[in-house]
Subunit: 330 residues, 2 copies
Amino acid sequence: MPQLRQNAATKEWVIIATERSRRPHDFVAEPRAPTADTPRSPSCPFCPGNEHLTPPEVFRLPGADGGWSARVVPNKFAALIPDGSLDRHAEGFFRCMDAVGRHEIVIETPLHNQPMALAETPQIERVLNVLRARYLALRDDPMLRLILIFKNHGAAAGTSLEHPHLQIAATPIVPYRQRTRYGEATQYWDDTGHCVYSDMRDQELADGRRVVLQTPCFVAFHPFASRSPFETWIVPRRHSASFGRTTDEELADLAVVLKSVLGKLYTKLNNPDYNLIVHTAPVPDETEEYFLWHIQILLRLTNPAGFEMGTGIYINTALPEETAAFLREP
Amino acid sequence: MPQLRQNAATKEWVIIATERSRRPHDFVAEPRAPTADTPRSPSCPFCPGNEHLTPPEVFRLPGADGGWSARVVPNKFAALIPDGSLDRHAEGFFRCMDAVGRHEIVIETPLHNQPMALAETPQIERVLNVLRARYLALRDDPMLRLILIFKNHGAAAGTSLEHPHLQIAATPIVPYRQRTRYGEATQYWDDTGHCVYSDMRDQELADGRRVVLQTPCFVAFHPFASRSPFETWIVPRRHSASFGRTTDEELADLAVVLKSVLGKLYTKLNNPDYNLIVHTAPVPDETEEYFLWHIQILLRLTNPAGFEMGTGIYINTALPEETAAFLREP
């Protein structure tokens, strides 16, 4: 029968819908012709030669022949902008403020047709170093409270531009839902003296059925209470609340993990659309013990509907034990 | 500049992204040929003559000539099923339980090609009476804590079957996110002695710019902190925490409101995909003062992506003041 499973860290339940359950290979898409089959696209604002189409860059990683191997630019359609006030305004009952913050684009590679799943590990490591550098630059702005790094890959994941890129958004508030999650983790730490994310990692390791990959610095698994098929968490072994405090060794290892995990998803499911999110503590909590930074990858194979919107409970039609085994196969 | 707006009831912020802002008429879809242009579809399990394709019905509203005008059947692919245990099981660190509950389909009409936006008002009123009857039947099951009524209209909203239908899901737990929202409303009531949803309705009425429709029993508006373009809330004037405690007069009036609101969206935006959700208090709180039952309609014109998934903050590219004015126009 269908099962309700609770995520121990977020306290959120999911339904593992065995009545509709689909086997891992049911999620394999038809092979699709790459819409980008050349390394440059004349109209792409992120391709070399079109640098004038983006706002002035804030960071450049030099490449061969005087070019670049990665660039960071403000989002041309930024949802959060640097200049504004932190004051809350009351319009009667209604509260609002300037959407002050940062919204940047990290162009990962000059190559239009090389998604991260197909990139070389050293290039992924370079991009991770750029992300950490930008995190550290933004964290020094006292206006900013949370720095979110994420990637939208594919149309179903909300990308409008195909050229491989990540985004960094920094908000002047800790968003309500994230505040709730940090609160649950804080309560767990108060109760037990442990970080709930570290405990979850260790329990997944002890169980083993949902583990996809282990490396010296990271564990990748499909969580017990996965919200959707092939949901993947990448959790560090060393405690740190903040992505900004990762070591060089960890970033080098993380590049190996991302190459493997994204590569397996790309190859075995035929380039699925996904969102990748780096969860990290609010800037003022970077040295706290209650939270462990980690990465969540959510595939966009299904469409949340009224039930999810009305309850917050996701219905997952695949067993994470089976999807993890499927990905572990050579 | 873009603006952060807070929903006073849920405490969640949204970004009104004026930098990318689109005018209401930008959301008008191309007219699309109805995929269903006949009142019956031979292969549809919800069409008359195919009653054997659904599980045995639990409720029938008689129609003309010995037929039916509405039917309620268990969902063939139920995410929650009636038989099971309420016991939580610990698998080490992991908590799970049987996904016990109910998951029903309300077939609104025998007519395959008559979505609610095009139905006659008396038929909508009959359907609303069926929903209340099913709510009242399910609420007497002591196992169930929350009864969610919702509708997925269109492929982007997660429908697999086009025949007009609603769904009812009843869960043995109060889902975490809903528990949080009830908690915020309880705190507001403790602080002020008012229901925050009633106060929001009154403030929207006093402001007026975002009000779409007023009737004797209801107010429809695009909330100050709308999460997406054309988000519509339908809030009763009379206080009641529970949809199950609506009066006959209210249901008759609600049919008029739904016909008008869904009809305007259908006509002006060319049949957009949407989710409709009836928010109601948990069964044990039906007579509480902190919550006011209401309906939320969310159009699926845009796709939440990594930013929304990582923060819970929605980016809305339209001004609710403008979308409401657009809908008010004759």
